[in-house]
Amino acid sequence: MLLPSVPVLRVARTTLGALVVGGAALAQGPAFDSPGLSKPPRAGDGFTLSNDFNPAIGVVIDAFADGIATDGADDGFDAELRVLELNFSAHIDPEAWAYVVLASENGENPRLDEAAVEYTGMGGNQVLKVGRFFVDFGKQMQNHLEGLRTLERPLPLREFLGEELAGTGVQYDNWFAAGDATPVRFSIGAFASLLGEGHEHDDGGTPEPAGVVPDRKDIDELSFVARITAMTDAGERGLAQLGASVRHVPAFDFTFDDAGLAQRGLSNTVFGVDATWATSDATGLKRTLIGGEFLAIDGDIAGALDDPVTPTAIDVVDDSATGFFVFGDYAWDRYHSAGVQYAAADLTEDPSLDASELDLYYTHNLTEFRRLRFGVTVGEEGGVDSTRAYVQFTNYFGNHFHGLNW
């Protein structure tokens, strides 16, 4: 295990000092979700406080300040308004609900994160979702960054699927009861592209080829994602959930336009299994959550220029890589929780190298719409150690809805 260096201790002291600034408290359980999805408690509550707009409007501010030390050297502090999110949602009719999410990162021009319609008019528990939205893979990929249990998306998800995985397409979702205590849900979706965004390493600005999916493609070249998950009662107040997901991109290219280079006809597949267990005490306020996911990626998993200065070809890594993360969270009341997460993954650029992250975090919910999180991430990537201490502040205004599912 990596030990914090001296600059790191300074960062940690700063963080602990900030802990003293705590204020009041938080809130309610969410709408029907399974534990671990971790959207903000009761965010999306359009009932307690009415919203007279149609569509309902919500805003999210997610900001953080952090200090990073790499291999013992203090890299300094920074502060970012990471996400300013604007979302709209409304029922279009009794059988269709729609939402739009626009997000601006670091004050840049807003981009369209999600714009989707959920149609429930097919009867039973079926849902057809059409548009652009975060796909149903595992338990963490549906969440936007500010809704995660940790500051960043877990390492193997970032490495294999990207910071965010939104696709434009259609997804069919359904659930059924297997007995009296086990709902089983499954989904399958076809998308124009499912190449993730935001897969970044600290490579010193080395140019990289871009992964792109051709604009026009045969129907069997559509990307798809599928998931099946079941949860069941575990004890008097507990829940256990298992899930399996797959994302397949059957046809994509690596291109480097500056040199007119391309590698075409590539494909890769990501498999994932996840497990979650949660329980609470008799009051429902003290809650324990344990979970993890294992992922594997196979196929053409990365591309790199043969020469970063005068490239003549794109080298494709046709290999497989694996990764996992496990976590444990404990909430001792509605206002305070703490957790630890450990993640490790092979690097897709070179699966013989790996990376790991250990996260320790404490979350103070000031109210149901206001959250402070303090954390330390100790990481290692390709032999380089780093430590990051951060304070994250997230604030929700108004109604906040996403198409999350359990």
């Binding site: 359980g29 528990n125 009662d233 509605r334």
Partner: protein, 307 residues
């Protein structure tokens, strides 16, 4: 891709089959709190199979949901909630996910017990500055009003008759018998209540407001500065100072809120802490709505007599 589509097709067929309810003679009823569940059992008798979402020891504003609840709501013939936004944290989401058209709001299988009840503490304006557990439609804890059981029973009766008119006579007979038992109990409660009138208490949350108001017990203060906002050292300090100055010694708490803040007040204000049930099953001996009210009356009366 083809195999996945085939798998999805097979699961779809299975789902359509699994979703069909069997020929069960009992009505499947889901109640949000155990008080309602008890009253449904009392009136519905052998004709109902009742599930309560919350347990009596829980904070009703933060109920952890179990997978079996989703299935129970999906299969329910009747869904009964307190209303006044008491269950807003989980009912709307659960009803949406459970996809049971029989129990959607406005359908015969949906019962909102708050209908017809005159609430108090309705906020004049809705602002998030009013507190985390702000009740926009008024205080929803009328299950703790001595008249609350009869009101809930009337709403339950209406719902049962709507979805199962064939057994109306039995439901009405059970309802009448239940009212009779309440009348008998009310005589005990009135006697205890008269001795409590004019006394002062401190509570943690606002759950007991109906009970206190019914008997003219003064709510001297709450540990929570605002509903759902946890006690702050400043608020506790002021409360303890006032309690000491004005000799208020009784603090009422529910099982979920009997925490270190309560014990802090106990120590600093030399107060008597009384853990009272705020829902059926909240404390030993509170296994039905009438028993719960018995325990509540006796506990508060004893504490105020001693204090």
């Amino acid at each position: 891709m083809k195999h996945l589509l085939l798998l999805a097709g097979l699961l779809f067929v299975h789902t359509e089959t699994a979703g069909a309810h069997g020929a069960d003679s009992q009505l499947r009823v889901v109640a949000t709190i155990p008080d309602i569940a008890d009253i449904v059992r009392t009136i519905g008798g052998e004709h109902v199979d009742v599930t309560s979402i919350a347990a009596g020891t829980m904070n009703i504003h933060a109920v952890p949901l179990k997978p079996s609840m989703l299935i129970a709501v999906n299969r329910a013939d009747l869904f009964v909630q307190m209303g006044f936004a008491l269950e807003h944290a989980y009912v709307p989401g659960m009803l949406a996910k459970a996809r049971n058209p029989k129990i959607r709001a406005g359908q015969p299988g949906f019962v909102d017990c708050s209908q017809g009840w005159e609430p108090f503490d309705v906020p004049e304006s809705l602002s998030r500055s009013g507190g985390t557990d702000l009740h926009p439609l008024g205080n929803p804890h009328f299950n703790l009003d001595p008249r609350g059981g009869a009101h809930i029973a009337a709403k339950v009766l209406e719902g049962l008759v709507r979805v199962d008119p064939g057994n109306e006579a039995e439901y009405r007979a059970a309802y009448d018998a239940f009212l009779g038992r309440i009348d008998t109990a009310a005589k005990r409660w009135k006697e205890l209540g008269e001795a409590m009138r004019g006394k002062r208490v401190v509570t943690y949350h606002s759950e007991l407001a109906y009970f206190l108001r019914y008997y003219g017990i003064e709510l001297f203060g709450t540990l929570e500065p605002k509903p759902g906002v946890p006690p702050t050292p400043k608020n506790l300090g002021m409360l303890i100072s006032r309690m000491t100055t004005e000799n208020v010694r009784v603090v009422l708490t529910s099982p979920w809120s009997n925490n270190k803040s309560v014990r802090f007040v106990q120590d600093k204000a030399n107060a008597t802490i009384v853990e009272v049930p705020t829902m059926v099953g909240g404390v030993p001996g509170a296994d039905s709505w009438i028993e719960m009210m018995d325990v509540l009356h006796e506990s508060v009366a004893r504490a105020l007599a001693d204090g």
